[in-house]
Symmetry: C2
Subunit: 408 residues, 2 copies
């Protein structure tokens, strides 16, 4: 491998005004504008060779992540790719354990999101240098296996955001069934009667043999979660996702224990901030589905540790991907999990949402409700330059137009 010295890091605040149509709405995030802190690394070896990375956010606050990426950038610029990957643990710790910056984390919140954005770009760069999609780079480190012909099973969250009307639910669900979808997630948690009506409607539409999951996005406290979900048990959800505060390991353990007799598992992870938290969730039997996220924790590095721990505890990994870019990235990790770690599809599936893929250079390909393994080199992070410029906040033309129309 050439040295490939990183000579420049740029980061931009890119936001999509998704709140205007209630895409992504749930009980806690009522008006998300799907956004990214978008990182591009440039090297000295070849002007065309760049590494693209991002972390997902939901609007306001993205500028704080951008500020954190800038603060961390001094630790990256000047390093060669060879130096980084020959001691990736050391490089990871350099980013996460800077003697001054770790105070504002450590390994959580803004600084961890910024770390993810940068490391995602480093992994993308490495995979591009090797001329492989990231998942292939990962599985080739381990043992080779035949790539799945049929792809990796996906479920859809796009039919039942909390802000959608019953008419929208019915139409979107019917269309998804026609396209071959068999697993559906419904947002719940704001109003019990509303949830009963929506779950009943969807269960009728999809029939008894398809899979239903429900997601409260942290809306409840522990006892409230148990009571509320018990009242939705008649609709046979496979899991309740994020029933309470994402930090409450012991609370999730209580909920898991109470819901086990009803055949409902607990799923969480999209706001679980690092491997130490996942370790405890597994130790305490506090979840039955591990929802890794490609942008919340410290990139591929930390997700590999989480995937291996999940395997040790025999708990399936079902990634979170409800956001912009998250489907593109996490498909690489779940392919690695299947090919090199779990070798099982039992109770396993990867979330899919159908928004904003058109802004990526190598968008996710779904066929018959399965993720088709990407073949382009890299980590599928690269966005279309035109999309970035249009959506850059606050000066891109989309945001200028919204401001002028006074819609927000």
């Amino acid at each position: 491998m050439q040295e490939n010295k990183i000579i420049k890091l740029t980061v931009r605040d890119v936001r999509f005004p998704t709140s205007l149509e209630q895409h992504g709405s749930d009980a806690m995030h009522t008006d998300p504008d799907y956004s990214v802190a978008y990182v591009v690394l440039e090297t000295d070896s070849d002007a065309a060779l760049k590494g693209y990375g991002l972390t997902f956010t939901v609007g306001r606050g993205t500028e704080i992540v951008v500020c954190a990426v800038k603060a961390l950038s001094t630790l990256v610029v000047g390093k060669t790719l060879k130096e980084i990957v020959s001691d990736f643990r050391g490089f990871y710790r350099l980013l996460s354990s800077d003697g001054q910056m770790r105070w504002v984390g450590p390994e959580k919140g803004v600084i961890q999101l910024a770390t993810a954005a940068i490391l995602n770009a480093v992994w993308d760069l490495w995979a591009r240098v090797e001329g492989k999609p990231l998942w292939k780079l990962l599985v080739d480190m381990h043992l080779k296996q035949t790539m799945l012909k049929e792809g990796y099973p996906a479920y859809t969250t796009s039919c039942a955001w909390l802000g959608y009307t019953d008419q929208q639910l019915t139409q979107l669900c019917s269309e998804a069934l026609a396209q071959g979808w068999t697993k559906f997630k419904v947002k719940v948690g704001a109003d019990l009667q509303d949830d009963i009506r929506r779950c009943s409607l969807i269960r009728k539409l999809i029939g008894p043999n398809n899979t239903l999951m429900i997601d409260a996005n942290q809306r409840w406290d522990v006892n409230e979660a148990i009571t509320w979900v018990t009242k939705l048990a008649e609709f046979h959800p496979l899991w309740i996702e994020e029933p309470t505060c994402p930090d409450d390991v012991l609370g999730h353990a209580s909920i898991s224990k109470a819901l086990a007799p009803l055949g409902i598992g607990v799923a969480t992870g999209e706001q679980c901030h690092n491997r130490v938290m996942f370790k405890q969730f597994l130790q305490a039997a506090a979840l039955q589905f591990v929802q890794i996220d490609s942008c919340r924790v410290g990139s591929v590095n930390e997700n590999l540790a989480i995937i291996l721990m999940a395997a040790k505890f025999n708990v399936p990994v079902c990634p979170h991907a409800g956001g912009v870019g998250l489907c593109e990235l996490v498909q690489h990790l779940i392919l690695f999990d299947y090919i090199s770690v779990s070798a099982s599809l039992n109770n396993r599936m990867c979330e899919y949402v159908d928004h904003l893929h058109e802004h990526f250079k190598s968008p996710t390909i779904i066929r018959n409700a399965h993720y088709i393994p990407p073949k382009d080199p890299g980590y599928s992070c690269e966005m279309l330059e035109e999309s970035v410029q249009k959506h850059q906040y606050p000066d891109g033309e989309v945001w200028r137009a919204i401001e002028q129309q006074g819609k927000q």
Copy 2:
């Protein structure tokens, strides 16, 4: 109470170059520059009436907290103090649960530090409006009691930072004994033989009846902590502080269980990011000393919840105050704990470090190793304007001089 509308919020990045003399150094933070994101609130009622707040950081990364304070400021400016304090829970949730910004937390890391800085300023403003020091405002809400004549017991961390020589340790410790100090904390965790030598030295200097605590600042993993501390047991430390990752509740529970037969407790909290984490530490018997911090969690609001939980579990609160401004702020909270909640000094004491008090308008007063209750109105957050201007980063004269001298 008048309306006292908040019409302006300013925030500044203020840093003290403490790393030049190794003040504050420990096993993980080898070169801290004690710093604050410093917030001033202005009201429409009286130009002289301002609220001062801060959060503590250790140098790089402060600019990210400043950025986060700016992002949150839109939720504060325009509100009246009356609106805020008449529904303080609602206001707290407005800051911590903004539908977009919560994604970059929630309630942890940068965004929580920024929330603390702002809420500290709001509490300061409220106490000034009432003409009381904050602790008095708090205890008057509850039940009145005679203020302690002798003050609240303190311990010192200033004698044994990791970067100090044995000669410095000996001199500082002897001086402290002469001043009446009876409780001493030693930084450990980088090198076992070094720790044995330092602990032995200090135990000899202070004798068998004074109290020794040790602090590893998260340096170890779980088993390493148990082995290492067992080898320091002969020096009879009261507690081992931050033995491992601050997120590892179950790890701390294992350490607590292993060290209990040696008579050594586990203390932690300075990087415990919210009340839900403290709840679990208490539920799991994972700590024997609760170290609240005035700037890590969501200000007075969240610390009151933590103090009440500690009382419920009968665990003493011994605040963290190793930083700039932390002594000034947390003394109010520990007075509230004593007067209104615990009514006990058993195994209770408040950390004290002797650096940088000269930059505050109402600096902490220590007499005979006790905190003397402050009497000036407010939360003791106000800094001398001259100090702020000199230390503002990167343009204050102190930092310009350091840059010119090329010392850093």
